[in-house]
Symmetry: D3
Subunit: 161 residues, 6 copies
Amino acid sequence: MGLTALCPGTFDPATNGHLDIIERAARRFDAVVVGVLDNPAKRPLFTAEERVQILKEATAGLPNVQVAAFSGLLVDAARQVGADVVVKGLRAVTDFEAEIQMAQMNRALAGVETLFMTTSPEWSFLSSSLVKEVARFGGDVSALVPPGVPERLRERLGGGA
Amino acid sequence: MGLTALCPGTFDPATNGHLDIIERAARRFDAVVVGVLDNPAKRPLFTAEERVQILKEATAGLPNVQVAAFSGLLVDAARQVGADVVVKGLRAVTDFEAEIQMAQMNRALAGVETLFMTTSPEWSFLSSSLVKEVARFGGDVSALVPPGVPERLRERLGGGA
Amino acid sequence: MGLTALCPGTFDPATNGHLDIIERAARRFDAVVVGVLDNPAKRPLFTAEERVQILKEATAGLPNVQVAAFSGLLVDAARQVGADVVVKGLRAVTDFEAEIQMAQMNRALAGVETLFMTTSPEWSFLSSSLVKEVARFGGDVSALVPPGVPERLRERLGGGA
Amino acid sequence: MGLTALCPGTFDPATNGHLDIIERAARRFDAVVVGVLDNPAKRPLFTAEERVQILKEATAGLPNVQVAAFSGLLVDAARQVGADVVVKGLRAVTDFEAEIQMAQMNRALAGVETLFMTTSPEWSFLSSSLVKEVARFGGDVSALVPPGVPERLRERLGGGA
Amino acid sequence: MGLTALCPGTFDPATNGHLDIIERAARRFDAVVVGVLDNPAKRPLFTAEERVQILKEATAGLPNVQVAAFSGLLVDAARQVGADVVVKGLRAVTDFEAEIQMAQMNRALAGVETLFMTTSPEWSFLSSSLVKEVARFGGDVSALVPPGVPERLRERLGGGA
Amino acid sequence: MGLTALCPGTFDPATNGHLDIIERAARRFDAVVVGVLDNPAKRPLFTAEERVQILKEATAGLPNVQVAAFSGLLVDAARQVGADVVVKGLRAVTDFEAEIQMAQMNRALAGVETLFMTTSPEWSFLSSSLVKEVARFGGDVSALVPPGVPERLRERLGGGA
């Protein structure tokens, strides 16, 4: 029948851990929509447009992946893009608990089913926050994020290296 | 001898999960005082008075339950209302760890004993924060909170339907 | 393209929690194969044939669900039934950790991807072991397992009620 | 009205951590019944009678505490002794998860409410299994268990010291 | 060869739990450098200089311990002070997860190895945040922090007692 | 002064995850003793001698590493080999809790300090049990264990390939 998966997140910025989940979802589902949450209240470092652009570049080689910004409730976004399921990566136990509560809520509210993939071990320590903290003090993050992101981080944060 | 239990929280706003704990405590203990933490530093959506009012309406049918605001240390509130024990609901592991530290501290400081109840499974995914986030974007939360709360959330947040 | 999901487990016996995951998987995937692990070393209460039979009865109304026993490695079973993904339910944090290790191993060994669903809150406290322990002492488990299972438990365990 | 608490466990043997929970429960509740689970399938080191005897000696100074063996379901024991609540100590997260499932099950089966106390920090690393393992190799456990237990462990295990 | 350990933290203010880790590290390693993170973005209650001063007084009796402020990346601080390893205390599971991610990142970035000690049970409920919250409302924290800290907290917070 | 670290375990058999911890400990400490727990009650697949032999081969290139079997209490083994600290790897939260209890016990019993390293992400899913289970059904584990182990597993388990 053809399943569409929505991969939602803040992606501020996208890391290799995010890309790993997106690529694995793209291999299993017919279509993947990467949904970039546009939530100015969270004060992201990059605008939603920039975050969408980074992900478009990083997923250019994956023909069944689309990237779009969304605001508001995840369940509304899932309905708009016609997603059959939400797909998310899980790294750690504290992730798991917050995510499980969100997933139960989304199912109770709108019947939206969330499927979790385990983050690949090599990226299990990685988060957008850690990347930004390292970059802020001039650390080299090029092994942790897609090409193009280190330059953008330097520009935005004015760090060294 | 008659045991009085203090059920403390921010209750911003009260959810059906909170009510479930309060009702179960009221069935086991002689008296229950619901203590609404008045902590403006946490920037609650509702004032302490509004939160007390919501809980008074929701517990109107429980004769041995009282609702009051308190500020300052929990151990002082427990002493003031003559509570023998503090009763709290636990949902998740991360809850558990923060709560266990608070409970050990309260016992070390003032001999106040905390008893934990497990949140009913049907509300284990529920939190005041999730309720506010859903309401903010116009989602329907009427199955998740006591009567009267959805209207107040709409008023305060200006959301849709 | 049509995705086939393998739902593996010991199912000794199947509970309403298992059925909930199977039904939800059947709604999202084209085909679901319930794989009953035939591992005599675990000394199950019911034979693999009995466990398959219970699940066949319980899923009789789901046309895209099949039930089969398997022994050996999960990744081999996935290959045999042509499963694109493995689907499992997650209840708790300790589940999560054991499952995440198994999932990483299965992906490392054979590229088999595991997708996790969150168990419905009302069954989050339920396990086959708890059901057997309750039944062993004559407790009533009819609200926790599919029809037919309470009788089988009584027969096997010789309990009361 | 007078609340009776049931403190259940295997107590093989009782440790200072168990005693800490029993004493704290005895201070808050009108009556405490320590329920020693008589489950030969668990192959305890001490018989149920020995475990009851150890606890009777250790709680001799607590007039509102009784000790009794029980077999079968916890909810039946609670009913028999007229317990209003079950009281248990929690040490760690994995404890918490197993206990929460048991508590939900007991409430679903028979309306039995479980209240959890946090184990005192100084005993948070302590378990009957660790005590037995240390004693088995001649380690000194006298600071970890009530008087009388080290002798009994030596007798049973034939260890040194 | 002589191992130098870096014990990093915000120490706002140092607690008896921090001191316990520092003292135990000083007993095992040749030299210990306590690194006070100077991160104004975290809005500490005490300046980095005050936090260094508190720790210097509290560790005055430990000849192989030095205290210094650092800003920027931990891996750079480790390099500057010639630390062979980073030593940290772990209290709880949520600590553990955040710390494990940080440790993996520091090893991936710069080969810096982190060794974790378990916080002594009697301080396992203790955190600088809890201390500040208690002090803010006039609670007595003198049993929880090194001498000199209660006065400084009173001065800064203007609390009672 | 020269620190000696004891790396204890059952190592049935050693995996690449164990080797990773041993190698990293050997880089930081002056001497490392790998202590193979000889506990027949755990019914290991390989004898203590075989497990020591596997580790000797796998650590042949590390001049400051020794391998020895021990029985009885870890704290006695630490004393015998003159170890200043115990060093262990941590993979997951449930590991963490069991390990923290053991570490607190060993410190309370005999002042033995345990230092934990985080297992490298690529081995975080790996355990001796999983390796044995995979090997038992003919799966290829050569990427997960030191050279020589796959042959020994095949011999012992009579598996395929």
